[in-house]
Symmetry: none
Subunit: 131 residues, 4 copies
């Protein structure tokens, strides 16, 4: 499954779900027109309350990523991939900016930041695309 939740993470579960679905759409794992797992099904798999999943899905509907097929389920919108890719890039950029900004204000040098990034890219596992 393309969604995992980390209960330890401080960010709300419903946000984790919504974001990961966006990322799945951005990377093509979820295609336009495809139905998401039903609220109950996803809730079961994640061992989470259905309301929590429903809230994630509602946010995605509000953003136009998912569209309701009444009585059928929620489908990925046609223009979703493009927007999810933009969201993804913007999201990463903003988060990175926050860190870098605060680091510079705390007198961490650009050189230190570059070294940290190199270290991280070497140590973190490379991910594989599953289209």
């Amino acid at each position: 499954m393309y969604v995992r939740v980390d209960p330890a993470d401080a960010t709300p579960i419903y946000e984790q779900i919504a974001r990961q679905i966006k990322f799945a759409v951005a990377s093509g794992v979820l295609q336009p027109g495809e139905l998401t797992p039903s609220v109950r099904e996803m809730a079961r798999q994640l061992a989470v309350n259905p309301n929590t999943v429903a809230r994630a899905y509602r946010e995605l509907q509000d953003e136009g990523i998912l569209t309701a097929q009444r009585g059928v389920g929620l489908a990925v919108a046609e223009d979703a991939p493009e927007r999810c890719r933009q969201d993804r890039e913007r999201w990463v950029y903003e988060r990175l900016k926050q860190v870098v900004d605060e680091a510079l204000r705390a007198q961490i040098t650009p050189r230190q930041l570059e070294r940290m990034l190199r270290d991280l890219l070497r140590s973190l596992p490379q991910q594989e695309n599953a289209p």
Copy 2:
């Protein structure tokens, strides 16, 4: 002032205050032995509830960064700079790791991340040390 709070930021205000004081100590803006502004004074300047400032100060005392001078106020501990520098580096590294990790899982490429960092280092204002 070496402390600014951003009410829009989701991280608790008391945490923002505590971290920025640590960073001020790490970079030498606040010297060992120096007194911090009183709770009321800082609260007034930041337009923030005194309880919030008090909580930040309490945490810093618990960590031994600040030490109470009875009847006088709170002073920066002698060994604070060294520890704050370590804290600062660790904090930046952990935050950076979080971002990079999630970015890679979302199929952002290392190359993209390197480019983002370069962009940010070029665009963000350089800070000056005030020892």
Copy 3:
């Protein structure tokens, strides 16, 4: 075709169908004795679940607008036009009342409402009767 459904509209599809058939009868597009399209046919044309069409037809039967011709289909009842005209007027009136009521409670002035109606009557396409 005298029936169109708008999936974006929040009102149930079966209700949209039933209402539009009533309106078609009221305006003479559907004549007494005339057969409606079969459930399957209408479902195909509207790209809608046959159950949904069936439900609309069932409601119209319950109201006596349509009458079953065994083995043939559903026909418009003899006295249907008169009743559909009444229904139509009542429906429009009630809906208009709801809007006007809520608008007045929200401090929209009668003058504004009159202007809105004039604008709408000028801009909306005039319909032609197809008896």
Copy 4:
């Protein structure tokens, strides 16, 4: 109180609440900077579950009508009145358009519609502004 809910109305309670608050802001009953009644307080007054009120408030935050004052409550945003007035006008116009459109398609004449509106404006109670 400037919010009343009608359980008979098909529109969800949380939407009724959100809309009426918007209307209160639009008409000046709620001023920028003013705090809304707390979630619990409003829930008590309306005899409704706090979650339901919270959902209405959340929507208003998402739209930028309300802004959170952490630990204090939810305040009306500075630019809210202007936007609420626009929302209100647009909302009424869209609803009116729906009715008129469907009425014309059902062969109700413009003259009939104008008469209905006149009737309604004469019969419905005039509201008073409470700024």
